[in-house]
């Protein structure tokens, strides 16, 4: 109460619109973001703890966690390497087509996931442009977990590129000039001089890509084949339960997904906050 009075009378508040913008923001966040989550808890309240545990540890559901987490981890690691390469090339070199390459990086965010899904499924199917090249060599991508990882990597690559790129741009030229003039080779200089500046951003970007992959649905279901125990992702499990009108089952699995993704988001935010503080000398 006293605090409320303090910021009401705060002499620093010259600008108008505090009440209005606070009102709109709080109303919107409560109605759109928070209220629907109560529906989930309402549904879960109807389950006993034993029932809840049985649903979320059922064999087919656990298999879907494994597929989702495994494919997302592979996709995130591939994107860490690929994204670092792309960010480096885009920041450090001049070459024809650079502007186009830079614009292309945002394609996976701009392209609807269902479009990405049917396109990747068509490309990598046995008779598709890529599939007809890879399958004779013994690589089957469509309808395997490799396809799932591929779709995840496609939709989440911009997270890594766009997180690493600005940090690399802000790195002053003196940093690597000093290392090079002292006679370090490219590889050593990159590892010892560039990476220490880059890896907080790289971890953040990779983490965001991982979280996005865990929840991805539209891009994956077409290429996954959706075989129970083999290529079924957790988001699809929720969808399947809903189609069977098993609202309790869908809610239980969704609560696990929701909890994990919110916890990861929070962890990434804290991690990022810590490094921003450290890089800017203890404040901010």
């Amino acid at each position: 109460m006293s605090q409320l009075a303090l910021w009401r009378s705060g002499s620093a508040r010259v600008l108008p619109g505090f009440g209005l913008s606070m009102g709109i923001s709080v109303l919107f966040i409560s109605l759109v973001l928070l209220l629907p989550i109560t529906g989930l808890f309402g549904q879960l309240a109807g389950l006993s703890l034993a029932e809840y545990w049985a649903i979320i540890t059922e064999g087919r559901v656990v298999a879907s966690y494994m597929v989702t987490i495994g494919a997302a981890a592979v996709a995130a690691l591939v994107n860490a390497v690929f994204g670092l390469l792309l960010a480096w090339v885009l920041v450090r070199y001049e070459f024809p087509g650079k502007r186009l390459l830079d614009a292309l990086m945002d394609l996976p965010f701009a392209l609807p996931t269902a479009v990405a899904g049917i396109t990747l499924a068509t490309l990598y199917a046995g008779n598709g442009w890529m599939g007809s090249l890879l399958e004779p060599l013994g690589f089957q991508v469509a309808y395997t977990w490799v396809g799932i990882a591929l779709a995840m990597a496609f939709t989440s690559i911009p997270f890594v590129v766009r997180t690493v790129q600005p940090v690399l741009e802000d790195l002053p030229a003196e940093v690597d000039e000093a290392a090079m003039s002292l006679g370090a080779t490219d590889g050593v200089a990159f590892r010892r001089v560039i990476m220490p500046h880059l890896w907080p951003a790289l971890v953040t970007g990779t983490g965001l890509a991982f979280v996005r992959s865990l929840g991805e649905f539209g891009a994956i279901i077409f290429i996954a084949g959706n075989m129970p125990y083999e290529t079924e992702i957790t988001a699809l499990m929720i969808f399947v339960k809903l189609q069977e009108y098993d609202y309790a089952g869908a809610s239980a699995i969704a609560s696990v997904v929701l909890f994990v993704s919110l916890a990861l988001l929070l962890a990434i935010n804290i991690w990022q906050g810590r490094f921003v503080r450290r890089l800017h000398g203890g404040t901010g």
Binding site: S21, R92, G218
Partner: protein, 275 residues
């Protein structure tokens, strides 16, 4: 002075690898969409695009986007104004809360709306007794679309408004300008390009959302099908050319989004160079 990776061989190797991988991984799918859509000629493409169900899906998709944008715009501007112009307890929490839609799986987003507003939910059952149906109808599609797109405008504005600070607005207010005039004449010109890009991103996502919408839409052909749901149905019916015709329309919107972003960035860079 030589920098890391400046040796011609390293340079060529890295640029080559980046171009090759991007071509295979990003450009090839884009080309494939249009190749598939036009694989049986322009006439078949046109027939697929102009059929009743496709036209209806296009119409519904546009209506949803047109309704979503102003709502997200008002929220985004209000939130950005609030967290960048005032300091108050709970400011950080508000900023974290708007990230929720980015972390939540679209299917989970659809599910929580279905649970609350569906016939079994505590609001839904009350609505049901008054004969109001939101789920499996267009209002449900609109509601989940607002959920998944609401962070975009705020996320574009907050860093910019934070960097610009509030000095100009404070000067205007001290000189006697009213709140609304200050916003229109001082704030808006400063943030218009970021605002525009936020709207473009909101539009791209609103038009293309699939997971959340497919949970609440019920996919009734010619009634509650948005363009992404329509193309899924065609694809499942083994009508690949029809599906890719709709996909090509969505890909075109995606390309326009990328072009708009490049244009806005170019303008921002030029402005910076002049200052």
């Amino acid at each position: 002075m030589r920098r890391i990776g400046d040796a011609p061989a390293v340079r060529r190797l890295l640029i080559g690898a980046a171009l090759l991988l991007s071509a295979l991984f990003l450009l090839l799918p884009l080309v494939a969409i249009f190749a598939q859509a036009f694989s049986q000629g322009v006439m078949v493409f046109w027939a697929n695009v102009s059929n009743t169900f496709t036209l209806h899906a296009i119409g519904l998709t546009l209506v949803i986007a047109l309704l979503t944008i102003p709502i997200c715009l008002v929220f985004g501007v209000a939130l950005a104004w609030l967290v960048t112009r005032f300091s108050f307890p709970g400011r950080r929490i508000l900023q974290t809360l708007i990230d929720i839609p980015f972390a939540v799986s679209p299917v989970v987003a659809g599910l929580i709306y279905l649970l609350l507003y569906g016939r079994n939910g505590w609001i839904g059952s009350w609505l049901d007794t008054h004969d109001i149906q939101l789920m499996f109808a267009w209002p449900g599609i609109l509601m989940v679309t607002i959920f998944v797109t609401c962070p975009f405008v705020a996320r574009e504005l907050i860093p910019l408004m934070q960097a610009q600070g509030s000095r100009e607005e404070e000067a205007a207010v001290t000189l006697g300008a009213g709140g609304w005039t200050t916003f229109r004449r001082v704030t808006l010109p400063n943030i218009r390009w970021a605002l525009l890009y936020g709207i473009i991103l909101t539009n791209a996502r609103a038009v293309g959302e699939f997971g959340a919408v497919s949970v609440v839409a019920g996919a009734i052909r010619g009634k509650t099908n948005t363009l992404p749901l329509h193309l899924e149905q065609l694809y499942q019916d083994y009508n690949a050319v029809g599906a890719f015709a709709s996909a090509a329309l969505l890909a075109l919107i995606a390309l326009l989004t990328l072009a708009a972003k490049a244009g806005l960035e170019w303008r921002a860079a030029r402005q910076e160079a002049f200052l």
